[in-house]
Subunit: 118 residues, 2 copies
DNA sequence: TTAAAATGATACGGGTCCGTAACGAACTGG
DNA sequence: CCAGTTCGTTACGGACCCGTATCATTTTAA
């Protein structure tokens, strides 16, 4: 596991990956949406609105709205917690998994090209 | 120069860096703004509105507005091209350089921690 | 000199997002 | 039971961004 980025490489990776995301036809996710999406897909459940808001350091309506829009894109799902029906559990979707997989591929490809393209 | 990210590492890097940017007090840049900013700071001048629009695959008003808001944040500057006064040249600022430097540090630190934190 | 082309900015109508405040629903403890 | 707490959501006014269409300015070329 060799992950050593110098300053120039880090910036180029950040730039190249963002450029590819912008050029894609898919609508860009905001930094907040990206963080929420990857939290849900990388960290073990359960994921609640309150928990996500605390983790990101934002208010709860921010999470609610992000879940609204990402739900419209079919990237995440909401379900009531049967144990405590006040809670909402954020769940993964098939489409969201594919989206995250494509994002990982993009980052990996751009990282690999750093070696040859600089 | 060893840059080898596997899928899990790429996603964790993307997540961790975005999380730190969201938690920062500074306002988040959109993907388009990030791409414009890093293009200006990584690639050799001159940078014009038309050129940036073509590179990103967006319309010119998108670039104009992004330059408006990033100019308000003192991240970039606009200047008329004396050679061809129709053109606007996008220029770097001291504050923008610091911002880009901090971004690079964040990405580098998060990349370095991938080794120990997984 | 003048019509055409090119550049960036602006107006417009519509959408999304922001934080604060208030709300209903669900749980908790006395 | 029932007041108090904890959830997530919604309402609101304001800010920003979107793409299309149009504009003024400048350059080019006939």
């Amino acid at each position: 596991m060799a992950v050593e980025l110098n300053t120039a490489e880090a910036l180029k990776l950040w730039h190249d990956t963002h450029l590819e995301l912008v050029r894609d036809t898919e609508p860009d996710l905001s930094a907040r949406q990206t963080t929420i999406l990857l939290t849900v897909y990388l960290e073990p459940p359960p994921h609640t609105v309150r928990g996500l808001a605390a983790k990101l350091g934002v208010t709860k309506p921010v999470i609610t709205r992000a879940l609204d829009s990402m739900g419209r894109m079919d990237l995440v799902n909401r379900r009531r917690d049967p144990q405590d029906r006040r809670n909402v559990l954020v769940q993964r979707t098939v489409n969201g998994s594919l989206f995250v997989e494509r994002l990982a591929d993009t980052v990996c490809q751009r990282a690999a090209r750093l070696r040859t393209m600089m």
